[in-house]
């Protein structure tokens, strides 16, 4: 194969290494952001995306008022970060293209790895499937059932695992393998 990262020009290896390091940094902070805003458990993800909309009743026939006493402590309670349908539309619109570009960039790296064709195809499929799972989980959690939060978690972990596999193989083949130039 003409494109083989093991035997690529050092400038290409350096470029790929820079790309992986940069994406790795963003993935690391992405994980921190998830921890801060949505959490890593199905319950916390469901609370973020399902929100009160899951139990939303039809509008009442006439406008009704419900009153309850509040204390200052109630105002200070930690608010659960929620993403409603409008915000999720916006998030999907801006995140999915970026995820696609990242999957494409990592897919180009995979194409230059010395791997059996099936493994390479599987890895590229995983790179693209992860964001699909991520957002499918968010929408299903919102529209169908909070139980689908597990799909979002699976998508997030798949993204991290796929990146780690690609980064490890690429660094090994470019800089450590005996067969490299």
């Amino acid at each position: 194969m003409l494109y083989d990262l093991r035997r690529a020009d050092v400038r290409i290896k350096w470029l790929v290494t820079g790309l992986l390091a940069t994406l790795g940094l963003s993935y690391l902070f992405g994980a921190v952001m998830v921890a801060l805003y949505a959490g890593f458990t199905p319950r916390s993800v469901a609370a973020t995306y399902a929100g009160p909309e899951m139990s939303m009743a039809m509008p009442p026939e006439t406008t009704v008022v419900v009153q309850r006493p509040m204390s200052m402590a109630d105002f200070a309670k930690r608010e659960v970060h929620t993403v409603d349908a409008k915000l999720l539309i916006q998030d999907t619109h801006v995140h999915v293209p970026m995820y696609g570009l990242i999957a494409a960039a990592l897919g180009v790296v995979v194409a230059g790895l010395s791997l059996p064709r099936r493994w390479a195809l599987g890895l590229i499929a995983l790179l693209f499937a992860a964001p699909w799972l991520d957002f499918a989980g968010m929408w299903l959690t919102k529209l169908a059932s909070p139980r689908f939060a597990i799909v979002t978690l699976a998508g997030g972990w798949a993204m991290g695992v796929a990146f780690l596999i690609v980064a490890t193989l690429a660094v090994h083949q470019m800089w450590l393998s005996r067969e490299r130039d």
């Binding site: 952001m33 801060l36 805003y37 009160p52 909309e53 939303m56 509008p59 009442p60 026939e61 006439t62 406008t63 009704v64 008022v65 419900v66 009153q67 309850r68 006493p69 509040m70 204390s71 200052m72 109630d74 105002f75 200070a76 608010e79 970060h81 409603d84 409008k86 915000l87 916006q90 998030d91 801006v94 995140h95 293209p97 970026m98 570009l101 494409a104």
Partner: protein, 184 residues
């Protein structure tokens, strides 16, 4: 390749950053309902007709069709009420707290949340006196504080001020139509 780079730049530019708290809710409550020692949350569950009426008036529907007002009192004396209103923008949501006097005029406005990206724009607008221009407004008035500070701030601060104007307009419309006119 050129397309990919352009698409990445566009995606990065429009990437929504997380929401940060500018003023904690208890601090906003104390500022907008000064002296209050008891609070009541008044949840107004809008009928389809009323929700439509509000939407026609200010192009907005509250989350889940429920308006939440917080009334404060000191002993048996009403101190006023406040609302937290969210405005969704292409740069993410911002939240403003709008406080009302017992007479129904705006006592004050506090920007409580914004995205990391918008935070400096909000702070610039507030430093230019944005929220001072809402005091005394009453339901039916059109907030135009953004125009009042336009000559003293940059374009982005003016933009975010227009979004705060929207939030205040929503609060005024909701308060005017539903705070005192629906019985518990």
């Amino acid at each position: 390749m050129n397309f990919l780079i352009r698409a990445a730049v566009i995606a990065a530019l429009f990437h929504i950053t997380p929401v940060v708290v500018l003023v904690k809710r208890p601090d906003a409550v104390q500022a907008l309902l000064p002296g209050a020692d008891a609070y009541v949350a008044r949840e107004v569950h809008l009928s389809g007709t009323d929700a439509h009426r509000l939407h026609e008036a200010v192009d907005w529907s509250p989350e889940d069709g429920v308006l939440v007002f917080y009334a404060g009192s000191a002993g048996s004396t009403s101190v006023g009420a406040l609302e937290f209103v969210r405005v969704d923008t292409p740069h993410g949501p911002i939240e403003v707290a709008v406080g009302f006097t017992p007479q129904g005029t705006v006592r004050g406005v506090v920007a409580t949340k914004a995205t990391v990206e918008m935070k400096p724009w909000v702070l610039e607008a507030v430093a230019a006196g944005l929220t001072d221009h809402y005091r005394g407004l009453k339901p039916g008035d059109a907030p135009a504080a953004a125009a009042r500070i336009a000559s003293r701030v940059g374009n982005l601060a003016e933009y975010v001020a227009q979004e705060v104007d929207k939030g205040v307009a929503r609060a005024l419309a909701a308060y005017g139509a539903f705070y005192n006119h629906v019985r518990a």
